[in-house]
């Protein structure tokens, strides 16, 4: 027989999960089917989808390329300011994305780094590059956090043994550490892609959210909601939800493989 506590806790879990499910499910109920088809085939939606995939692909690859050595160095090496660097990397996870967006705008605007980059013809603010930069900084701390835990979890003695068998530090990293971290790298990659695709406020601040120019799927949702175009807004929401479901399904599959 189930205890009172067990029944109460399970009831809470079921009730709130059901509400969340209904909220997500309601996205699929409200628009008319024709309206949904028209919306997803519209030039704006296709453009936003392409831009989202394009920018998220680039930013995700960049995030992983930078996050792997960052997380590894935090996990394995001792160096000055390590604790401070770790805290700074954790900050964006704690404060709202709107603050990150504002901070990036201040950095890449004309005042600080932006002015310097502009001398070399690199424009960040209100450009597609700005979308990639915003997505990068939204996802980067999450990727580092997952990879940091992954590397910490791997016994350093695997690396010791490899080196004692003649492999250099980098060869060991490549042939032992990376293969042993593949689950964590994969999970981190999935989260990174999801964060990059879903990045909204930081993208809006840095890239401007200009119609058909710097318009990613979350921006499409926002712009069309502002104009009262519910079919487009909800369709953009549905596309984002589908992408998220795919990401979760892949993650689930990875989880099952790991359990085996």
């Amino acid at each position: 027989m189930k205890s009172k506590m067990e029944i109460s806790f399970i009831s809470i879990a079921i009730f709130f999960t059901l509400i969340l499910f209904l909220a997500v499910g309601s996205l699929f109920i409200i628009p008319s089917f024709q309206g949904f088809i028209d919306s997803i085939l519209s030039e704006e939606m296709i453009g936003a989808f392409k831009l989202t995939v394009y920018t998220a692909a680039i930013s995700s690859v960049l995030v992983m390329l930078v996050a792997i050595p960052t997380a590894y160095s935090l996990s394995r090496y001792s160096f000055p300011l390590k604790t401070i660097i770790k805290s700074i990397l954790d900050l964006p996870m704690a404060f709202p994305e709107i603050v990150l967006g504002l901070a990036l705008l201040m950095l890449f605007g004309n005042n600080v780094l932006g002015g310097f980059l502009e001398k070399f013809g690199i424009q960040i603010v209100f450009t597609v590059t700005g979308i990639i930069v915003a997505q990068f900084f939204v996802a980067f701390p999450f990727a580092v956090r997952i990879l940091y835990s992954t590397f910490n979890y791997i016994d350093t003695r695997y690396e010791f043994v490899s080196r004692s068998l003649g492999y250099s530090e980098f060869e060991t990293f490549y042939s032992v550490t990376l293969p042993l971290s593949k689950d964590g790298i994969f999970a981190s990659g999935v989260v990174t892609i999801a964060r990059c695709i879903g990045a909204f406020i930081a993208v809006l601040f840095l890239a401007g959210g200009t119609y058909m120019k710097t318009e990613t799927l979350p921006i499409t949702l926002y712009l069309n909601l502002s104009f009262g175009n519910f079919d487009m807004a909800l369709s953009a929401g549905i596309v984002l939800v589908i992408i998220s479901f795919i990401a979760i399904a892949v993650l689930e599959k990875y989880g099952k493989e790991k359990a085996l």
Binding site: F160, V161, R163, S164, L165, G166, E171, V176, L180
Partner: protein, 370 residues
């Protein structure tokens, strides 16, 4: 002059929470050196420092006369085997064994397969080569780990409690197997263990560590029969350690008074002794004590009468505590001997031990205990 194979000089390592201090260790080629000491004494850190995973801030390590202190681990030719195997889980048995050899052969795979097979055959794991390492038993995993280390023909093999995670039967079998393979390859070894059976079965030389220092090193006989201090004595099973005073000598035999009224004789050489009275620590191994119901005439210099205070079984032996004056001596017998002598608590009994078996150690104030 014999050139040392491994010569560690004044080695000190700082790992913040742990320090190795002024380690000196000398090993000749082909030696089987065993490191013993309580948990946390620094045995594993010493192995990993020799392998190059930790950088010492003082001292040096010479291997075959070459200073390897600042060499990277991969350039030292030193392999390491851990207690919990540390087999690469993303590789099968074959790939694990072949891992180091592949690098050593520089990608040349022609002889790789036959070498792996040959090594696996020696360690009796040739039927497991295609197996996932996670499906192996403890003994099979350890044999794979040792094969992986030996196949690269290291100059020095380091083993950190290699048999402590396997069951008793496997342990005995593995000890013999590994001993034979290591002898065949003439590999110089340093083996960390807590198991005295390993020490008796494998060690040619023993070093005792405590708190990041080597307290004593020498042959198995030296360390176990002539411990250098009270800690080593207790650690290697010398349960009779007393504070005493050298009160005279008769030729080479020293006369020692322990606890006011007990006089015993030792033929040990004690360099700190002059003609004056000298404080000393006395150590007698329990196995050296002979029990008898009557005094007997023999060459044995020490014969004491006492009363059995306690007796308890440990494995296949019976430990007997005998009170002589205020001093308790501990000896060990088989249950059969115990029975035939009719030993029981409260019985009067004679203890005899040779002066040769009374070892003397320098007296330290904090060493005193009976």
């Amino acid at each position: 002059m014999i050139r040392l194979f491994l010569d560690i000089k004044d080695l000190s390592v700082d790992l913040e929470e742990f320090h190795l201090q002024n380690i000196n260790l000398q090993i000749e080629e082909g030696d089987y050196q065993v490191l013993i000491g309580p948990t946390g004494s620094g045995k594993s850190v010493l192995l990993e420092t020799i392998a190059g995973f930790y950088k010492p801030y003082h001292g040096k390590i010479l291997l075959e006369g070459k200073n390897i202190t600042s060499l990277n681990p991969e350039d030292r030719g030193i392999s390491i085997v851990y207690q919990d195997y540390v087999l690469f889980p993303h590789m099968n048995v074959f790939e694990n064994i072949a891992y180091g050899l592949k690098k050593k052969n520089n990608g040349n795979e022609s002889s790789l397969e036959s070498s792996v097979y040959e090594m696996a055959e020696k360690l009796k794991i040739d039927h497991l080569l295609k197996r996932d390492t996670r499906t192996l038993s403890g003994g099979e995993m350890q044999r794979t780990a040792i094969a992986r280390s030996l196949i690269v023909e290291p100059k020095l093999l380091l083993m950190d409690e290699p048999f402590s995670a396997v069951d008793v039967n496997t342990h005995a079998h593995l000890t013999t197997l590994i001993k034979n393979v290591i002898e065949e390859y003439q590999t110089t070894c340093i083996h960390v263990t807590h198991d005295f059976n390993d020490v008796y079965n494998l060690a040619e030389r023993v070093a005792v560590m405590k708190d990041g220092k080597i307290l004593q090193q020498g042959t198995l006989h030296d360390v176990f029969s002539r411990p250098s201090d009270n800690f080593v004595a207790k650690f290697v099973g010398v349960h009779n350690v007393f504070q005493g005073e050298i009160i005279g000598h008769d030729k080479s035999i020293l006369k020692i008074k322990i606890n006011h009224d007990i006089i015993i004789h030792s033929s040990d050489v004690f360099e700190h002794y002059s003609s004056k009275k000298t404080d000393v620590m006395v150590a007698i191994r329990p196995e050296s004590i002979i029990f008898s119901n009557e005094p007997f005439i023999s060459s044995v210099r020490n014969q004491l009468k006492g009363v059995v205070r306690d007796m308890f079984e440990v494995g296949h032996t019976v430990w007997i505590e005998v009170q002589v004056g205020d001093v308790t001596f501990r000896g060990v017998l088989t249950p059969n001997s115990c029975e035939s002598l009719g030993i029981k608590i409260g019985k009067e009994i004679y203890l005899s031990f040779k002066s040769l078996n009374v070892n003397l150690m320098e007296y330290h104030n904090d060493d005193y205990s009976t």
